[in-house]
């Protein structure tokens, strides 16, 4: 103790103290914020996957995303987007992009499962990012009621209250969610593809995401209790129906009422 108090006034003491403080706050900060960072990938990629993935990447993706996936004027950098982003974009056929447009369209996938995994492994090896979700978050055994509430607060404004999708600006749109695999829905939430905002695990916890997926599976399975849903597009399709069919019947009756009998 005496030694310490003697060195207290040493010219370097202030610097040492500052360094200690910085390391402490930095360490605490890192520990506190890890919730955002990718946890260890649950799908493990072998060195072989990464190598094959790099070959596929160079052949198919590097034109836009750059040789090292560092991005180019035509495509964003993929460092740190994580395996989840690759799995979502490639397995739904959105990437490789077929044509430039307001947004990448879903289409038949161009890479099989193994190739997708290899690509994901390569991209994941470039920097930590959201991993492919664990199986038990996708099982649809969460709480559908909680999921429904979360869906209405966070998702329904773009994807429609019945998850039937909706329009955005200049040709962009939020797709319908019926028939989309639970894994892709989860991945879309954590990665925020294209114009969708990111809903990281700090915002919507993995268990909450499981509830949302359960809700979507429930409404998918229960169908429309109120009869034909006309695409669940609300006043657009319902209005069109009643204007055409409803007014059509009214007009037909009017003509019948005023026509002469033979």
């Amino acid at each position: 103790m005496k030694a310490l108090s003697q060195k207290r006034r040493h010219p370097l003491a202030a610097i040492a103290l500052l360094l200690l403080g910085l390391m402490l706050t930095g360490g605490l900060y890192a520990a506190a914020t890890t919730v955002n960072q990718a946890k260890a990938d649950t799908t493990t990629f072998s060195a072989q996957d990464t190598k094959e993935g790099q070959k596929l990447f160079v052949a198919n993706c590097a034109t836009c995303h750059g040789m090292g996936a560092g991005g180019s004027p035509t495509g964003p950098s993929l460092v740190g987007v994580g395996a989840a982003a690759v799995d979502f974009q490639v397995a739904t056929g959105r990437m490789p992009l077929e044509a430039n447009g307001p947004q990448a369209q879903e289409k038949p996938r161009q890479f099989n499962e193994t190739q997708t995994k290899q690509l994901a492994g390569y991209i994941a090896s470039l920097g930590a990012g959201p991993a492919i979700p664990e199986e038990h978050y996708l099982d649809g055994k969460g709480n559908a009621a909680t999921g429904g509430e979360l869906f209405r607060v966070n998702c329904a404004m773009c994807h429609n209250a019945a998850a039937a999708g909706g329009a955005l600006t200049r040709g962009k749109f939020a797709p319908a969610l019926a028939g989309v695999s639970s894994q892709h829905i989860y991945e879309a939430m954590v990665t925020g593809p294209q114009n969708m905002p990111v809903f990281n695990d700090a915002n919507i916890t993995p268990d909450d995401k499981r509830d949302i997926i359960t809700f979507l599976q429930t409404i998918d399975a229960s169908g429309s209790p109120g009869g034909a849903d006309l695409g669940s597009l609300g006043p657009v399709s319902e209005g069109l129906f009643i204007w055409v069919a409803g007014l059509g019947v009214v007009i037909a009756f009017t003509i019948w009422l005023t026509s002469r009998t033979s």
Partner: protein, 342 residues
């Protein structure tokens, strides 16, 4: 029955010929010749029409029976599908019950009831005798009531008439308190934490990664005993983070965000729909009702649609524990314009 014109040759197609110096003038061409219907001439057709009308009334009877079958016959077992079946049959039953009677009566009238064309002359609009008579009645009333002779009665009546509607003002006033300054303030106060909607958990600044969108309510809203929805409808906020270089805050508002995290009112300045569609690449906020579009990078300036003012920004900062808190309430009223807004 008035003039019963049967449209003989003498009446129809009579066009006046213009004589010298006369104005061309149409004469009433009358009605086209009456055409007999099949049922008027053919007893078989009449019989058939009679059966058709009866069949339509029969459909109505079946519809009513269907209603009672659905009401008593369909067992509700607490599943949505039986309820749906019952509702469908109830609707179809009532529908056909009404439609059968309606179409039956119309068909009856069209096919079997007499259909002679009839025209009725218009009455004279006013005769001088009527006018004088009415004038006399008014005069008599004034005379008999003596309202001119008794000004006390007249004046008290006028006073009573003026005062009588006044209670209505009090009654309508009681429909609700005037909003006072409720439209100008929300639940946000200095130091109110931003919490997630609907769970009510606070938000760490570090958790809001770039591209994120959080739907936010003020802390304590979920615990409100009354007026929760009213408070929520004013205080909801959308929290987003973008690259700080993309934001262009105006002078005096530079510190309203935190490292690119900004919070804006979710209530559209047009008619108050929730503006919650966020495009994280273009940084546009869209209102789902009338497509008003706000540019987040320029303090939510309106770039499309009917909204007139930018969305109000909620100034935020970080408290000692790293959670996001409000610096103050909104600096202007949220939501659509109102008269006293100024």
């Amino acid at each position: 029955m008035g003039d019963h014109s049967d449209g003989t040759e003498a009446h129809s197609r009579a066009v006046a010929r213009a004589g010298h110096g006369e104005v061309d003038k149409f004469q009433d061409p009358g009605l086209p010749p009456h055409r007999l219907r099949l049922a008027d001439t053919n007893p078989k057709a009449a019989k058939r029409a009679e059966r058709q009308v009866a069949a339509l009334f029969g459909i109505s009877v079946i519809g009513t029976l269907l209603f009672f079958f659905a009401y008593f016959g369909v067992r509700l077992d607490n599943t949505i599908s039986t309820l749906r079946l019952q509702n469908l049959l109830l609707g179809l039953g009532t529908g056909f019950a009404m439609l059968g009677i309606g179409t039956g009566i119309v068909h009856w009238a069209r096919a079997l009831m007499p259909d002679h064309e009839v025209s009725e002359e218009r009455h004279a609009i006013r005769t001088e005798a009527d006018r004088v008579g009415a004038e006399k009645i008014v005069g008599d009333i004034l005379e008999e009531t003596g309202i001119k002779r008794r000004p006390l009665i007249r004046n008290t009546l006028l006073g009573a008439l003026v005062l009588a509607p006044l209670p209505a003002i009090a009654i309508f006033r009681d429909l609700g308190p005037l909003p006072a300054d409720a439209l100008r303030h929300t639940m946000w106060k200095t130091g109110t934490r931003l919490v997630r909607d609907p769970t009510g958990t606070p938000i760490k600044a570090a958790d809001v990664t770039i591209g994120s969108a959080y739907h936010v309510i003020p802390e304590g809203l979920n615990e409100l005993k009354e007026g929760k929805l009213e408070a929520k409808s004013k205080a909801v906020v959308l929290l987003m983070r973008l690259n700080p270089e993309e934001l262009h805050p105006s002078p005096g508002r530079e510190d309203w965000g935190y490292n690119g995290i900004v919070a804006y009112s979710k209530i559209c300045t047009h008619v108050g729909c929730p503006v919650a569609l966020y495009e994280q690449q273009t940084h546009h906020l869209l209102c789902p009702c009338h497509q008003s579009t706000f540019d987040l990078t320029r303090e939510c300036k309106v770039i499309f649609g009917p909204a007139n003012r930018p969305l109000p920004q909620l100034p935020i900062k970080v408290d000692s524990e790293g959670y996001l808190v409000a610096q103050s309430d909104f600096h202007e009223p949220v939501g659509p314009s109102f008269w006293e807004r100024g």
